[in-house]
Symmetry: C2
Subunit: 380 residues, 2 copies
């Protein structure tokens, strides 16, 4: 349906197509194939291309205050692979995973595939609430806690530094791994940088995932895990059995991209675009959505999370979502799909603000607002 | 250790580096990024890039006599991913997988990761013996039978057409899936082409894997599965949870490569090189290895399987393998590692003939032959 030019999509997590540094990628693909084609062509290492892991550390991880060695890194075929590897290494059927109350559906899929018991932690405007996290750690004895701390998917919320420190302390206190999934952190368009949970990780219990899908291109299928060496070794063994190794051309392109120092300019180029679109989208929600709709204004990332007014149980947005696609040609993600707390987010809508340009944001929200007023009975 | 220039390796399954069509890949990478960069950059489909699946069918699968539609295909991040997906979809812990008596260690790894019970089928000079296969189907009630029918890894053997038909009939008779892993079939340097088991598959029970690792480059991480639509749909769901999608740049390069008709010339270029190296290696085994060493002369592929004389129980090649690496700087794979029949292949050595040039083949076998005569007590 995305092929239909009338379709306006707030659904996916796609970067803006005009933000892709395609000319750089074309040039670097040619360069790395000419300079080290034989190495790129050949069977690679499961852990990843050595120079890519080094440059990811130097240009991506260390600038964020995380101290780590190459032995603490593992190349991932996208962060998606990391969810799967963590699940394989740590989860037996019936084991519990804690996660943000509303969270990334792709990660939920990997945990459900492992037949895990997924329990959502309550969130406020600052993300997961440490007191509820601790209560659920004690009660559920989880194998790990999965969280997206910055510009969270789907809520757009960011966990402040003090709360991050608390999460690291809980991981140490209860000897529990934390999977810190941070693909959006560089897409900040206002406010101050917050250090990763990993920087507070005295007990070596935190695994940090960074992705190249949002800051370079998704098509490379490339991410990197930074964490406890022994855990990453086990994940590497599982990766070997699963795909042998990641595509080396993608690693070499990303490596060259980082070493040429192109990332800061790319981030400086796309973040303000996303910021303006975020503001435009928020203004449209204010104008067209039912009165009483609430959201936390994101400081970065790709998503705004709108909570429609009234009792969540009065909504069935899963049904309305399909109806909206057909009848008004507007796409969104409903809260049920991202929910790890049953019934909690029936009145919530995730709106992506990176894909569509201004006029289509306005047009789409006008259509969607009118549609919601008709079909949810919230007429104002 | 492969970095040591003195090291002569008959161990890996690496294509000859000089066989890589690097100039074509550089040119096509540039071409596809310029022509459809936005599509390649973006999130892709789990099933794979439509045009790649179509060209794989047209240029790779249909010419081998296999009738299939795009719905019967699934892009794989290398065949390795296929083993893993089959295991995830079909195997519960304790389930049985049948396979060739000696087989690919990467597939064994995936089945063991799924906690399956792996049972090897006896082989003669024509590969697996259908009578033993049927006996084991009846006795073990396997979830599927995994076989490499052409220039088998590690034995170099090829299953003749009549026996392939028999395997397809057994699959139908016992309602059992067959995983036909055929990455070497195009690397034929003598003899007549044999049709895939899939061409005899009246009951839609056979899944055929083809890989681009041996005919293009391993670094793209690209393979394709052709088989029953319903099974591939389940594998696609498992793939979605595991890595979301394969790297689209690799698919686009392979697609363009196939559509430009470059594959036949590439195969015609590398196969004779492999054939001459195979003959050279066989001559070296005749000359330097202990008297009574036997092998089946391969008609293609990458491997020759040498059986040393005498009782297999008198050998411990796993220990000798490490010793040979250190003391004479020659690498090989011992039979134990590839074995699905405990103790059966203790006297067997897999020798790769694609990696090393003539003079290093001679030198390596001279060293290895002398070493084996000393350490196995077979002094002739």
């Amino acid at each position: 349906m995305l092929g239909d030019p009338e379709m306006i999509s707030f659904a996916g997590g796609n970067p803006a197509a005009e933000g892709y540094p395609l000319e750089d990628i074309i040039r670097l693909s040619d360069k790395v194939l000419r300079e080290k084609g034989a190495k790129i062509a050949q069977y690679g290492s499961t852990d990843g291309l050595q120079e890519f892991r080094e440059s990811a550390l130097q240009y991506l991880i260390k600038p964020r205050g995380v101290e780590a060695a190459v032995e603490n890194t593992l190349t991932l075929t996208g962060s998606s692979q990391g969810f799967d590897l963590m699940a394989r290494v740590l989860l037996d059927p019936g084991d519990t995973v804690l996660c943000d109350g509303a969270t990334f559906v792709g990660a939920l899929q990997a945990y459900h595939m492992a037949e895990a018991n997924v329990v959502g932690v309550e969130m406020d405007d600052d993300g997961v609430i440490p007191e509820d996290l601790e209560e659920k750690i004690v009660r559920c004895r989880p194998k790990f806690f999965y969280t997206i701390p910055t510009f969270q998917n789907p809520t757009g919320k960011t966990i402040p530094a003090a709360r991050r420190q608390k999460i690291a302390e809980l991981a140490a206190k209860y000897d529990m791994f934390v999977l810190e999934d941070d693909p959006y952190c560089d897409l900040r368009f206002r406010g101050e940088t917050v250090p990763p949970i990993k920087t507070f990780d005295r007990a070596d219990k935190v695994v940090l995932f960074n992705s190249f899908s949002k800051i370079l291109i998704p098509g490379l299928r490339l991410g990197v895990a930074v964490g406890p060496e022994e855990l990453l070794k086990r994940m590497s063994l599982a990766k070997q059995a699963a795909i042998a190794f990641s595509n080396t051309l993608g690693e070499a392109i990303a490596d060259a991209y980082l070493r040429e120092g192109l990332l800061p300019a790319q981030i400086a180029r796309i973040s303000p675009i996303y910021g303006r679109r975020c503001d435009r989208l928020a203004a449209g929600v204010d104008r067209f959505f039912p009165k009483g709709t609430k959201y936390v204004m994101p400081d970065g990332g790709m998503f705004l999370w709108a909570e429609l007014p009234g009792d969540p149980q009065n909504y069935d947005l899963t049904e309305l979502r399909m109806k909206a696609l057909k009848e008004i040609k507007v796409g969104f993600i409903d809260g049920n799909e991202m929910s790890a707390i049953p019934g909690k987010f029936r009145n919530c809508i995730r709106l992506n603000f990176t894909r569509e340009p201004f006029e289509r944001i306005d047009e789409g929200l006008e259509r969607l607002g009118a549609f919601l007023k008709i079909h949810t009975g919230v007429s104002q």
